[in-house]
C-alpha cells in the first residue's frame, strides 16, 4: 500500500466523522462549552449531539461534567489531554495527506 494511502488508513476514525471533527475543532480552542453552545455552533439536533459526545467520551477524548448554574442544569464538555493530542495528530496527518495528493 502506498505511504499516503497507509497514512489515510491510519487516520483516527473517531475524530474523522464530520460532526465529531467539528466538535473537537470547537473544543480545541475553548476551555469548556455547554451543550447549548455546541448545539448552536454545530447545528446538530440534541439527539445527534448527545450520541457524538458519547462516542467522544467513550474514546476518552472529551470529559462531560454535569453541573448547575443556579437552578438550570448545565452540561459542560471539555477536551481531555488525550483528545487534544488526538486532534493535533489528526490535523497533522490529514494536512500531510492533502499535501501529498
Amino acid at each position: 500500500m502506498p505511504a499516503d494511502l497507509r497514512s489515510l488508513a491510519e487516520i483516527d476514525r473517531v475524530i474523522h466523522e464530520p460532526a465529531r471533527l467539528a466538535l473537537t475543532a470547537i473544543l480545541s480552542v475553548v476551555e469548556s462549552a455547554d451543550f447549548l453552545y455546541l448545539q448552536r455552533e454545530t447545528g446538530l439536533t440534541k439527539g445527534n449531539l448527545s450520541s457524538h459526545l458519547t462516542k467522544l467520551e467513550e474514546a476518552g477524548y472529551v470529559a462531560i461534567e454535569k453541573t448547575y448554574r443556579g437552578r438550570i442544569p448545565l452540561t459542560l464538555v471539555r477536551l481531555t489531554d488525550a483528545g487534544a493530542a488526538a486532534y493535533k495528530a489528526y490535523r497533522a496527518r490529514f494536512k500531510k495527506f492533502l499535501e501529498r495528493t
Binding site: L21, A25, V29, D34, F35, L36, K46, L74, T75
Partner: protein, 215 residues
C-alpha cells in the same frame, strides 16, 4: 469537506458576537478619559490634582478588573441563556514574554518622561502615542478573529489620534479626549453588535433537561 480552520476561527469570533467586549472596554476607556480630562481641568498644584495624579495607577488597575467583571456580567445575563456557555482558553504568557513586556514598558516610560521635560512640544504627540497602540490591538483582534467591525475601530482610533494631534490638543487633555472618543466609538460599536445579536438570538424556551440525559 470540513474547513477546520474556519470552525476554529468562528469559535474564537463568537466571543465578540454579543459586543460585550467593546461595551466593557469602551466604558472603561470613557472612565479613564473622563478622569484624565477632569484632572487637567483642576488648578495646577492643587491638592486634588496631586491626589488624582497619584491615584491614576489605581484607576488603571481598577479599569482592568472592571473590563473582565462587566464582560462576565453581560455574558452571564445576556449571552449564555441565548447561545450557551463557553469558557475561552486564557493564553498563557511565558515569563520571558512578561519580562520583555515589562522592560519595554519601563523603557518607554523612562524615555518619555525626560523627552517631555526637555521638549514639551512633544506632548502634542501624546494622543497619537495612545491611539496607535489601541488601533494596533483592534487590528490584531480583527485579523485573528475575523471580526470586521474591529477594522473600523482600528481605523477610527488612528484617525482620532491624528485629528487630536493635528488640532493641537496634546498632553493629558489630549490623552483624555482620545480615550473618551475611542471609548465612545467602542460603546457604539458594541451596542450595535448587541442589538444585532439579540435580534438573531431570541432567548430559547426552557424545554427540559439538556445534554446526554436528554436522549
Amino acid at each position: 469537506m470540513i474547513d477546520i480552520d474556519r470552525i476554529e476561527k468562528r469559535t474564537v469570533r463568537s466571543f465578540y458576537d454579543d459586543g460585550s467586549f467593546e461595551i466593557a472596554s469602551g466604558f472603561v476607556f470613557v472612565l479613564i478619559g473622563g478622569y484624565l480630562y477632569v484632572q487637567t481641568a483642576l488648578p495646577k498644584g492643587s491638592a486634588l490634582a496631586a491626589i488624582m495624579g497619584v491615584a491614576l495607577i489605581g484607576v488603571i488597575f481598577l479599569a482592568g478588573f472592571l473590563v473582565n467583571r462587566i464582560i462576565r456580567v453581560l455574558k452571564r445575563r445576556i449571552t449564555y441563556p441565548r447561545t450557551g456557555y463557553v469558557a475561552f482558553k486564557k493564553q498563557p504568557v511565558s515569563p520571558r514574554k512578561r519580562r520583555r513586556a515589562g522592560l519595554f514598558g519601563g523603557f518607554m516610560g523612562l524615555l518619555l518622561v525626560p523627552l517631555l521635560t526637555l521638549a514639551p512640544s512633544l506632548s502634542a504627540l501624546l494622543p497619537i502615542m495612545v491611539s496607535f497602540p489601541l488601533a494596533m490591538i483592534a487590528f490584531k483582534i480583527a485579523n485573528k478573529a475575523g471580526v470586521a467591525r474591529f477594522f473600523v475601530l482600528a481605523a477610527l482610533s488612528a484617525v482620532i489620534g491624528f485629528a487630536l494631534t493635528a488640532a493641537g490638543i496634546g498632553g493629558a487633555r489630549g490623552i483624555g479626549l482620545a480615550f473618551g472618543l475611542i471609548g465612545g466609538s467602542m460603546i457604539l460599536s458594541g451596542v450595535t453588535a448587541l442589538v444585532v445579536y439579540l435580534r438573531r438570538n431570541p432567548r430559547p424556551a426552557p424545554d427540559g433537561p439538556e445534554g446526554p440525559d436528554a436522549r
